[in-house]
């Protein structure tokens, strides 16, 4: 479903290579985890996939359901079903959470030639999903992420994901900064979305999250490359021994 092939990325501003040949295929119905030391390029990968400015793809391709997405705008990628849960969700004063969500849903529907969601359906849906994530309606009325705690911001990302029903979900350290209860809520939110037609790329530092979201495949990223791929046991190995053994072995 998502096919990343030999992806090389440098920064627009500086002549610095960050991704140095990433190969990764995420198939429908599968959960992939990416682990790796700080600075190895995990967030960069998630930004490049979702179309953020400031990066320069010097080599390689990315396909989403057969579409070459690297030339597409972020909103076009989103409409094709790509979703990124941000490591650091942005606060947007003056833009209401509900307006934002509804505008996003309708924009995606419109670009797919579907009808807009009715106001009542939208309200019912958002209330229902918010309740399962323990997001109270007061929060929904506030401007996007403004005055939200770290955990509330992360839950808000999952709410957006649940509302938008993407095909490929990238979660960038959604677990960091969450206490155990909040992490369970987030994991339940993700698990509720797991199905045959949907793929996940879960970026995390900790086995902890992967206890709740059981990955099918685990990748280790270091210095801009996937250096090792394995099953769930790889995450446990990282948890027990850290990255150094793995990295030594890979080099």
């Amino acid at each position: 479903m998502l096919k990343i092939n030999n992806l090389h990325v440098s920064l627009d501003d500086e002549d610095k290579q960050i991704l140095k040949g990433v190969d990764l295929n995420v198939d429908a119905g599968k959960v992939h985890a990416i682990m790796g030391p700080n600075g190895s390029g995990k967030s960069t990968l998630s930004y490049v996939l979702s179309g953020k400015d400031g990066y320069n793809v010097t080599n390689g391709t990315v396909e989403l359901n057969g579409y070459d997405i690297l030339e597409l705008e972020p909103e076009e990628r989103a409409s094709l079903g790509l979703f990124l849960a941000f490591q650091y969700p942005i606060e947007i004063p003056g833009v209401g959470n509900m307006t934002f969500l509804r505008t996003a849903i309708n924009a995606q529907r419109k670009s797919r030639g579907e009808d807009e969601i009715s106001a009542t359906d939208f309200l019912r849906l958002v209330r229902e999903k918010a309740a399962t994530l323990k997001i109270d309606t007061d929060m929904l009325k506030r401007p996007v992420n403004v005055g939200f705690s770290g955990g509330e911001k992360k839950r808000n990302e999952i709410l957006q994901m649940a509302m938008l029903e993407p095909k490929v979900c990238i979660l960038d350290e959604t677990d960091s900064g969450l206490d155990v209860d909040a992490m369970k809520l987030v994991a339940n939110g993700v698990n509720a979305l797991r199905d045959e037609g949907r793929g996940f790329l879960v970026i995390t530092h900790y086995q902890r999250l992967l206890d709740h979201i059981k990955p099918d495949i685990v990748h280790i990223m270091a210095d801009g490359k996937i250096v090792k791929t394995g099953g769930p046991e790889l995450a446990i190995e990282v948890e027990n021994n850290g990255y150094s053994d793995l990295l030594d072995e890979a080099s």
Partner: protein, 426 residues
């Protein structure tokens, strides 16, 4: 670059023979005529006009302002206002409502002008003259000298229904002077709504006196007929515990200069002046505000937000003057611009002049582009770049629009902004 001399043949004539010599206003007019002669009309060399070239406001020839296809309508009909309509500065009785409302007296300057005695004599030109002490405001003095139409309102109670002055524009070369006098008595209250392009060129002055405990809510929408040129002045005085609120929305207009000069003379009075504007292309908008605190415990707020794109220019000159006796003054001033491209510019001159020691005054002025991180966040959810920019634009303007207390009227302004953005995707 050279500009015409102030008394050159290219400029408006300032003729003594054109003055009205009879009636209660004659003296004030003569006085204002002399002020205008003395200072001359403004030129681009004047410090006070250094960001806005007044040439087209003072030239003898009025530039053509083609009419928009859609007519200026009653955008405030939801508020059930008392309508007063002027077409190119001429009163249109057939379009206006019955003005016989208890607690309210509305007269027209052109009619009362002929009288020998009128209460307006005390106010006509009074605040305009006072304002000339800080810096010459010749366009306002010119208005005092030559205005022959406008509304003269006395409010003696709390008036529920707003008054809505609608300024239609029908003649592509109309050159209009309007003068309004508003006197709000103790504890009385008025909401005044104004909208419409008015004329190819408009020189409008409004003098407002708020007695103790009086309230004035003012909302004004300047839009349509892009080529129009507008210079307005609001002069006012606030008595004890009086509340003055004025909000202006400006979209379109090659040249707009809105001046506001207020004297807070009563203890615990509050003056809030705010404005939101969106400028696109050949657009120049200037807000020049001067607030004097001359009483104890008074408050003022200036909140101005400007969105500028495709080479538009925004200007803000704002001053808070706190006199030595004005202890416990709370003054706030913010002027911000959102520049949507590098061709647009924002010129700001915020000033504080404080002579009292126990005051809390702050001011800030910023200029910035769209927040790229926020833009990416919105677009990454499938929202098109244009709509995302519009959402961020509305968010930017929100602080100014929030100054409008009445929820329905605020919604009118928000809808106007949203519709404008929908029609003008860049």
């Amino acid at each position: 670059m050279s500009f015409p001399e102030q008394n050159s043949a290219e400029n408006l004539e300032i003729k003594e023979s054109a003055l009205v010599t009879a009636g209660w206003s004659a003296e004030a007019r003569k006085d204002a005529f002399e002020r205008t002669m003395k200072s001359g009309l403004p030129t681009a060399r004047d410090e006070y006009w250094k960001y806005t070239n007044p040439k087209s406001l003072t030239s003898k020839i009025v530039e053509k302002a083609p009419l928009s296809k859609d007519k200026e309508g009653g955008m405030f009909t939801g508020a059930n206002p008392i309508k007063i309509v002027f077409v190119d500065g001429k009163f249109a009785p057939e379009k206006s409502d019955d003005l016989d409302v208890s607690g309210l007296s509305v007269e027209r300057l052109s009619i009362i002008n002929k009288l020998n005695l009128h209460w307006a004599k005390d106010l006509y030109g009074r605040y305009e003259k006072l304002s000339q002490v800080s810096v010459p405001r010749p366009l306002a003095a010119y208005n005092t000298a030559y205005a022959d139409e406008g509304v003269v309102i006395n409010v003696s109670e709390r008036i529920e229904r707003p008054i809505n002055i609608i300024y239609e524009h029908a003649d592509e070369y109309s050159d209009v002077i309007l003068r309004h006098i508003i006197k709000i008595d103790d504890n009385a209250e008025l909401t005044l709504l104004e909208n419409g392009p008015a004329a190819a060129r408009l020189n409008q002055v409004m003098e407002v006196k708020l007695s103790d405990g009086a309230k004035f809510n003012h909302i004004r929408v300047l839009g349509r007929d892009h080529e129009r040129r507008t210079a307005t002045h609001i002069f006012g005085e606030l008595g004890k515990e009086a509340k003055f609120k004025s909000f202006t929305l400006t979209v379109n207009g090659v040249l707009t200069r809105n001046e506001c000069f207020l004297n807070i003379n009563g203890d615990d009075a509050a003056a809030h002046i705010s404005g939101a504007c969106i400028g696109d292309g050949d657009f120049h908008h200037d807000d020049t505000v001067f607030i004097t605190h001359d009483a104890v415990g008074s408050e003022s707020r200036q909140v101005f937000k400007k969105v500028l794109r495709n080479g538009a220019t925004g200007v803000f000159q704002g001053k808070i003057l706190v006199k030595p006796n004005a202890q416990k003054t709370d003054g706030y001033q913010i002027s911000q611009s959102l520049l949507l491209d590098e061709d647009s510019q924002f010129l700001a001159k915020p000033e504080l002049e404080i002579y009292a020691d126990d005051v809390a005054c702050s001011h800030g002025s910023t200029s910035g582009a769209i927040d790229e991180e926020a833009l990416f966040y919105l677009t990454s959810r499938g929202i098109s770049k244009q709509i995302a920019i519009d959402m961020l634009t509305m968010a930017f303007l929100a602080e100014a629009v929030e100054e409008i207390e009445n929820i329905k009227l605020k919604q009118v302004i928000l809808d106007l902004l949203t519709n404008w953005l929908d029609r003008h995707s860049s």
